[in-house]
Amino acid sequence: MFGLLQDLDLEPQVKECHLEDYQGAEARWCPGCGDHSVLSAVQRLARDEQLPPERTVVVSGIGCSSRFPHYMHTYGFHGLHGRAFPVACGVRSRRPDLHMFVVTGDGDCCAIGTAHWIHAIRYNMNFTVLLLDNNIYGLTKMQTSPTTRPGERSNTHPKGSFFAALNPISVTLGINNASFVAQTVDWNPPHLYATIKAAHRHQGTSFVRVLQRCPHFTAHVFAPAQEDYSRMLLMTHPDGINMDPAVTRLFPNRIEHDPSNLAEARALADRADVYTLGLFYRDPEAARYDLATAQGLGMSSESKLAAVEKALDRFLV
């Protein structure tokens, strides 16, 4: 199919893949960094779904979180700060056959990458976005990020951040054609896994914000929620994120939320008193740009040649 060397393309993928088959270089994040748990969740998912490593691509920007692809044994693109989305869209545009993940940080996505984030949501091309949000610029050593809470100190705002924190969920819910918007935390592996799995299964752009601990710079930010689950609100629904009821019961605060209810999703996203986890919104009907960009794939070079001839003829004098 689509201009790949036919014979080889059809060859079946025989051997079964184990966790090690998805493990790349040794992860060099700080001990206790939430990125570690996201990495293992994705590796487990890849194993469970038996994603062929050679047909799996992880695209990222620049940041601690964006080192992610190096630690996967798949194809990866560790690109420019803020620019993971355009690259991912380009990869996807002519490669419907690949499994794709985009890993980005709160600075990478919500500051320098804002325009691409907003428009990627519109394009709704098929890949899973993991926004690893530690409320800080980690790699550059602790500067305020758009999601930093007001009053939080950083090296660029030693007296505390001035701004209201940008809420990536509510912004995303304001964009037409958003098709999958969820939030989870790195410190509850089952929910993390279940969310990423649902995101991967969804056809279109799945936007997952992972609240991620940065023990090195922002340990105090998420520690309370980690220690006291009553600081989190779990959204439950048959069409939402489904996991082991035992885990669900760990969350004292739960709310039934139908992911097709946009107004309620927005209200829940705005809740400042708790971290709301689960699936805010899903629209399976949202138009997928990658279906349009795939047009013409596999056209034989003979017919292309003929078409060029015809196009040229239109200019004959």
């Binding site: 050679e54 695209v59 798949t74 380009g90 056959d97 040649l305 200019f315």
Partner: protein
């Protein structure tokens, strides 16, 4: 002379046409009056009958400028020749103006000369508004004093005989006028009109044919002038198009599947063409949210195996700088077209300049060696796209193609290319990746390597813009950095070793060698030929490859007393205040040539926002030649 006067005279049909080897016609009108269609048709007809042709559009700065305003002039220049025509030439021999004001805009840009035959719609003379009648009268008087041969023509009156909305009909009538003036084969013309208006229905066809014939007849009856530009028989089928169409077709012929862009003048029309034609070759146009996303998307495609093209102009190039650096560092094949316009900054968005050469070479921080090529003709715009994709994949990196607003909007006939399989991108390799071969298996001799493509089992690697070793692993050890940079730079040396020294136009030695690049080719060679005709010892040389440069320049330069570049970009003019020979800022190519050859390469460059006419170049070269001797 006054046409009404003429009419009283006995009809003056059939007097012998004066034979001319080349002629320049301009048609100017308010925008929306179709002067451009008229001119395109006329140009195409001349091309069909075997003439060399160059047409260039005259575009107003505003979308819908006020009527009868200078800044609002919309039109076209057609230059005809017995031989090939390579540029728009000097002053016009004939001008057709739909009103006197738009003609002034041409006068302001020195497009006319004493003696130019001016056909002016005299309908304004009878306009109900005094002010307009007066403006018209004053203008006509002024035109006479400027030495134009003014022929007042009742264009609109005549058209009214056949249509209620003459604004839409005048251009056909004028086409008739031109056909008579240059005694074209009317059957050809009528066929063309029929073809063009077929889908608009018979009524439309008929109306336009009538207007055409009326203009033709009126001219035969009332105009003494008659010209003939001898043509040579066409041995092969010819196509006529502008440079943007040519490069868009080149993209298709190269088997490129994705054009990722963000609109910007004067590059956009190339994408417009692709947007409507690309699907015929299975391609897509992606309009991104900005230029950064546009090149990022293209790089994503290329990484995934489909070398893509992104097309832009100066301000867009500025935004692609960072991603260009990544494409160099991570060796991603990519074709980047820059249709140059007037800079710096937003500058002159619709006008020509050759000001982005240094930016193309040096914009990205750090060392980023890349291939930069520049077509010099519209035909080359087509072929260079095929070349560009090939080089991008062969040398595993970005290839920049520099054209400009002059090539983008100029039209020229050239032999229809015959597309080949070999031009097309090969299918994406999805075979298993050879065990043990790293993703950057640099050949130490050439720096070349083959890249794994997602889908290739065993080729899994992580592309990165960080300094990396051949496994694409982040370099913690510094010697790796030197090695990787050596490898990337070496690719240019290798490519250069495959190039031939450029051809010298004229004698291989002499007093003066003129070096150019890009769209100035035609004008420079025309000027050089004219001077050589006078026995002056001047030659020229035109570079297509700017990074790396074609070899042998130093020896070639050594055979001339003086070497200079002619470019459409900025350079300090010697003798201006505070300027010392050492502090002079040279034009962009001149600077590069000086650094590379250590030859005292001089330059003459200007930034008028328009092509440099052959005569102006001639005058300057003559001055320099005097200095030499």
């Amino acid at each position: 002379m006054n046409a009404s006067a003429l009419e009283s005279k006995p009809k003056i049909r059939g007097n012998e046409p004066a034979e001319v080897t080349q002629h320049i016609v301009e048609i100017v009108s308010d925008s929306g009056e179709g002067a451009q269609t008229c001119g395109q048709m006329f140009g195409a007809l001349c091309a069909k009958s075997g003439n060399g042709v160059w047409t260039v559009e005259i575009i107003p700065a505003e979308i819908e400028p006020p009527a009868r305003s200078r800044a609002g002039a919309s039109g076209i220049r057609i230059r005809l020749g017995s031989g090939p025509v390579t540029n728009a030439g000097d002053e016009a021999d004939v001008a057709v103006a739909f009103n006197e004001q738009v003609l002034y805009s041409r006068i302001d840009t020195q497009a006319l000369r004493p003696g130019t035959i001016v056909f002016l719609d005299r309908t304004w003379a009878g306009n109900p508004m005094d002010s307009i009648r007066q403006m018209y009268a004053e203008a006509v008087a002024d035109f006479h004093t400027r030495g134009y041969q003014v022929i007042e023509v009742p264009i609109e009156q005549e058209c009214r005989k056949h249509t209620e909305e003459p604004r839409k009909g005048k251009n056909m009538w004028v086409l008739g006028l031109l056909c008579a003036l240059y005694d074209l084969d009317m059957e050809l013309v009528r066929d063309d009109v029929r073809r063009r208006f077929a889908r608009k229905g018979d009524a439309a066809v008929l109306k336009n044919l009538t207007l055409l014939d009326d203009g033709y007849q009126w001219t035969l009856a009332n105009v003494a002038h008659r010209f003939h530009v001898p043509a040579r028989k066409l041995d092969k089928p010819m196509v006529v198009m502008n440079g943007n169409q040519a490069l868009a077709l080149g993209v298709m012929a190269a088997g490129i599947e994705v054009c990722s862009m963000y609109p910007i003048t004067p590059a956009t029309s190339a994408s417009h063409f692709l947007a409507s034609s690309f699907e015929q070759t299975g391609g897509i146009v992606h309009q991104a949210e900005d230029e950064i996303a546009a090149i990022g998307f293209a790089i994503g495609c290329s990484y995934a195996g489909k070398t893509a093209v992104t097309i832009t102009s100066g301000p867009g190039l500025a935004l692609k700088t960072e991603f260009l650096g990544l494409a160099v560092a991570a060796e991603v094949p990519l074709v980047v077209v820059v249709v140059q316009r007037g800079g710096p900054s937003t500058g002159l968005p619709t006008k020509i300049e050759q000001g982005d050469l240094l930016a193309a070479l040096y914009a990205s921080p750090g060392d980023s060696p890349k291939i930069v090529i520049a077509p010099a003709t519209i035909e080359e715009c087509f072929h260079f796209m095929i070349l560009a994709r090939n080089l991008a994949e062969e040398f595993r990196g970005p290839v920049m193609v520099l054209t400009d607003a002059n090539l983008a909007t100029g039209q020229q006939p050239f032999p229809k290319p015959t597309p080949k399989q070999s031009w097309m991108a090969p299918p994406v390799d999805q075979s298993d990746w050879e065990k043990g071969v790293p993703p950057f298996a640099w050949d130490p001799e050439s720096g070349l390597s083959i890249r794994p493509i997602p889908g290739q089992r065993g080729g899994e690697y992580v592309l990165t813009g960080l300094a990396h070793d051949e496994y694409s692993h982040v370099a913690y050890e510094s010697s790796i950095n030197q090695r990787a940079m050596d490898m990337r730079s070496r690719k240019l040396a290798v490519f250069r070793s495959t190039l031939k020294p450029p051809r010298v136009h004229g004698d291989a030695e002499g007093d003066l060698l003129v070096v150019g690049w890009g769209s100035t080719l035609g004008a420079i060679e025309e000027a050089v030929d004219a001077l050589r005709g006078e026995g002056l010892r001047v030659s020229s040389l035109h570079l297509r490859f700017l990074s790396p440069m074609e070899p042998g320049l130093k020896e070639i330069f050594a055979r001339f007393k003086k070497v200079m570049t002619v470019e459409i970009n900025y350079s300090d003019t010697p003798g201006t205040p505070h300027l010392t020979p050492e502090s002079r800022r040279y034009s962009q190519l001149a600077m590069l040539l000086r650094a590379q050859t250590l030859v005292d390469v001089d330059c003459w460059s200007r930034v008028p926002g328009s092509p440099l006419p052959p005569a102006m170049i001639m005058a300057e070269l003559r001055r320099r030649l005097q200095e030499v001797n």
